[in-house]
């Protein structure tokens, strides 16, 4: 019974976790890595996009590393608590976390977080989702241009998952580029923002593209209309939605997730982890699974991921300044 064996395997992982706690700190050489289970911190609670990425990643990564990968949810403060705890963990490669564009780039610039780029090692980027904007199906704005035009004369409100979250900053940067402003109304999550859009409390919603396909029926009916996605080309999961560029706005933005470790992890370990991730992200089975969640596999190695974080944080710095969110 295949099902039963896999379930038994999952219980085995729990047992391994218990054992890992008992064995305590053992000296192991970087070449032998990994010799014990790897803890993966998810700095958000169960059920969100970050958690989904981690849980999708854990199983195949276990197979690639030959050691259990144990997910530990440490939610709070927009991802800052889990990452601050990671920064304090031993830099031996047995503690990693899922980071994202906003938690790695923007968050440390905003307030005392207990971590910044210098206290973390980038391992590899995993997946990305194009940023997008949606309105209610009965909204007067049919295209992105109409929305931007309206913003020049009217005071409109929008929402998205949390203050200074990836979607919030994506829209704030776009509006700044167009020289218009809109009022941001805070939400706890993308779904919370969707409620505000559907109830008419806000006029538009900024969010990762992966949130939208489930809201459409097979024949394309929906309570919302997606005005555009800020990808380079049309997104395979929603081929009918035009990109920002097609509508004459030169703006590209995506939310992405990657694996990070504390600063000072031996280079051999970084290389080993990074290549294990590359193997997983490149596999067909993983790509199939990603489709269920509407994520695009987007592997970057340690150096390229670091370059991306630095580029992203430079891009959002003026936006944060404008919003008054920059750390004093």
């Amino acid at each position: 019974m295949l099902t039963f064996r896999r379930i038994a395997g999952a219980f085995g992982t729990c047992a391994a976790l218990a054992l890992a706690g008992v064995t305590g700190p053992t000296q192991s050489l970087a070449q032998d890595y990994p010799t014990k289970p790897v803890q993966m911190i998810v700095p958000f609670s169960q059920g969100g996009a970050t958690d989904q990425v981690a849980r999708l990643m854990a199983q195949p990564l276990e197979a690639a590393l030959g050691q259990p990968v144990i997910i530990v949810n440490q939610p709070g403060a927009g991802g800052a608590i889990g990452l601050a705890n990671l920064a304090m963990a031993r830099a031996d490669g047995y503690f990693v976390a899922i980071g994202s564009d906003s938690t790695l780039g923007a968050r440390p610039m905003m307030s005392e977080t207990g971590y910044d780029l210098s206290s973390l090692t980038m391992i590899a980027r995993l997946v990305e989702i194009p940023s997008g904007v949606a309105v209610r199906a009965d909204s007067p704005y049919k295209t992105l241009a109409e929305l931007v035009e309206a913003l020049k004369t009217e005071r409109l409100t929008y929402s998205g998952s949390g203050i200074a979250s990836g979607p919030h900053l994506a829209m704030a940067a776009f509006l700044a580029q167009q020289g218009v402003t809109a009022t941001f109304v805070n939400s706890d999550s993308n779904q919370d923002g969707l409620v505000k859009l559907l109830s008419g409390e806000v006029q538009f919603l900024t969010g990762g593209g992966s949130n939208f396909p489930a809201l459409f029926s097979e024949s394309g009916e929906s309570d919302i209309r997606v005005l555009g996605l800020a990808a380079e080309e049309r997104w395979p999961f929603m081929p009918d939605v035009p990109t920002y560029r097609e509508q004459g706005f030169d703006y590209i933005n995506s939310q992405w997730f990657g694996i990070v470790a504390p600063a000072g992890v031996p280079p051999e370990v970084v290389a080993k982890l990074s290549s294990a991730v590359a193997e997983v992200v490149g596999s067909d089975a993983f790509k199939e699974r990603m489709k269920e969640f509407f994520f695009n596999p987007a592997y970057l190695d340690s150096e390229d991921m670091l370059a991306r974080v630095i580029a992203d944080s430079e891009a959002v710095r003026p936006v944060l300044m404008e919003l008054g969110l920059l750390k004093k």
């Binding site: 099902t3 999952a10 854990a58 939610p75 608590i81 005392e112 109304v185 706890d188 109830s199 009916e221």
Partner: protein, 500 residues
């Protein structure tokens, strides 16, 4: 419009009628009981923990396991609330008020039986709503903007005045202490840190569960240790209750049960709320309609009925926005979305149309988990009350240990254990000085809802406060609030004045 076709019904029933589904449903109900009953281990935590186990199962089997945990987990928090005055989850804090008082009079078994049957009725009622008027209810939920949420949360805080049986001033003070605690951490609207004392772990604020266990469980255990009766059991010998008499009692309180079920279901439908708010609202509704001779706070069965019917009615209600809009109605349903996505099922407005079979399966599974909850609860209740016969010298350390494990497991953070101790001491001081801990918990739950909705509402209206009275639903809630305040503060003040 016919929502579900006969073909869907037969597929749905066919999927459920499998031995594996039944076995996992049963396992789920047992897991839910254990997690719900242990202070600090909550139903959402159990569901998240067992989520990876479902990856290898089909959608129906995994829903069986998770819905089993969901229904019985929401009920089981009341077991320790009744027996040791230590709610297993915030939603059971209101149950402890009368439930524990009943246990102290040897009526713990009756209180437990009432809680079990009450939860069953609440679950059943909300299930019927989900089955019949789900799309309609979803529309109602979308009438609620930040303005309405604020007005309703304000009404909730005012309920404190009704709940505080001793000194109303002390009750309100405890509630405001709770609200103050809820402001710790990053400000929800502009992201500024508040009262963090250079402690990055406080950025996310104080965990509601940790504060709850500290204020109730640890303080209670400190109080017990102080009494020095280490060799005796904590409570008198418990009388067995006749189930027929319990059902008769529910029948006598049928209108109260119905009101509580409606409150619970509607709170469940509203995204961003949860069972804690439902049980407090129903409890204060029960007090509002109390008859002379009712002994609320001193072991009144109606108090247990109202809370329990209501907090389990949340289960069906919370499934309404999940299955019709793809929006979770409470913390558990948020995890369920992920569980369904792993199975390739996308929860959204078209789920019922496209996957009617699964919808029917979910309804049947919810019903069956409620039935199993009664079976497991009733057969296990003898064992539960026998725990009380243990001498305090064993019981107190065992409960403290469970509380510490529970606090740690909330976010796998040792800092929370330190917070737990602090709240335990605060709770102990509150008990010694006659401040009730229950309103403090309500303050911690409602504080963030009050704050962020007030600020969001004013952001949308460009700082114009008239929206609160111009929008009809909000105006209604505010009117009720004023009415309640008059009802509770007015006559009581006069009667107290005449006494002195």
């Amino acid at each position: 419009m016919d929502l579900i076709s006969f073909a869907d019904i037969s597929t749905g029933l066919g999927n459920v009628a499998s031995p594996w589904v039944m076995i996992f449903l049963f396992i789920g109900v047992i897991i839910g009981m254990i997690f719900g009953a242990a202070p600090g281990l909550t139903a959402p935590a159990a569901i998240a923990l067992f989520l990876p186990v479902t990856y290898a199962m089909g959608p129906t089997t995994s829903m069986a396991l998770l819905l089993g945990i969901y229904c019985s987990g929401y009920f089981a928090g009341s077991i320790p609330a009744i027996l040791i005055n230590t709610p297993g989850a915030p939603s059971s804090a209101a149950t402890a008020l009368d439930g524990y008082a009943m246990a102290r009079e040897g009526q713990g078994d009756r209180a437990l039986s009432l809680a079990i049957w009450g939860s069953f009725l609440g679950g059943l009622f909300s299930l019927i709503l989900l089955m019949t008027v789900a799309p309609l209810l979803a529309k109602v939920a979308l009438k609620f903007t930040s303005v309405e949420y604020f007005s309703f949360a304000l009404a909730g805080i005012v309920c404190v005045a009704g709940i505080s049986q001793g000194s109303m001033i002390k009750g309100l003070a405890a509630a405001f202490f709770g609200i103050l605690v809820s402001t710790v951490g990053l400000d929800p609207v502009s992201g500024v840190g508040r009262f963090m004392m250079d402690q990055p772990n406080l950025m996310g604020g104080v965990s509601q569960t940790v504060a709850l266990i500290g204020l109730f469980a640890i303080s209670q255990m400190l109080l017990l240790s102080k009494h020095g009766e280490q060799h005796h059991a904590i409570l008198p010998t418990q009388q067995r209750a006749s189930q027929l008499a319990v059902l008769g009692e529910l029948w006598r309180n049928r209108w109260l049960s119905l009101r509580s079920a409606v409150i619970g279901s509607m709170v469940g439908v509203l995204p961003g709320t949860g069972p804690a708010i439902a049980s407090w609202l129903s409890y204060s509704d029960a007090i509002r309609t109390a008859r002379p001779g009712d002994r609320f706070g001193k072991g009144e069965a109606k108090g247990v009925i109202a809370c329990e019917v209501s907090n389990n009615a949340v289960t069906g209600g919370a499934m309404v926005p999940l299955l019709t809009l793809g929006i979770p109605g409470d913390p558990v349903t948020a995890v369920l979305i992920g569980a369904l996505m792993i199975q390739g099922v996308h929860t959204g407005p078209f789920l019922i149309q496209q996957d009617g079979g699964l919808f029917v399966s979910i309804l049947v599974l919810l019903f069956l988990s409620n039935v199993l909850m009664v079976v497991v609860g009733l057969s296990g209740r003898g064992l539960m009350s026998r725990v009380l016969n243990l001498p305090a010298a064993f019981l107190v350390p065992a409960i403290c240990l469970t509380a510490v494990i529970g606090a740690f497991s909330v976010s796998n953070n040792a800092f929370d254990v330190r917070l737990l101790l602090i709240f335990g001491l605060v709770g102990y001081a509150m008990l010694r000085l006659g401040f009730p801990p229950a309103p403090a918990v309500l303050g911690i739950v409602l504080g963030p809802i009050l704050e962020k909705n007030l600020r969001n509402a004013l952001t949308v209206s460009d700082m114009d406060p008239s929206v609160f009275v111009l929008r009809p639903i909000s105006a209604g809630a505010l009117l009720v609030t004023v009415g309640l305040l008059y009802l509770w503060l007015g006559p009581r003040r006069r009667s107290e004045a005449s006494k002195t």
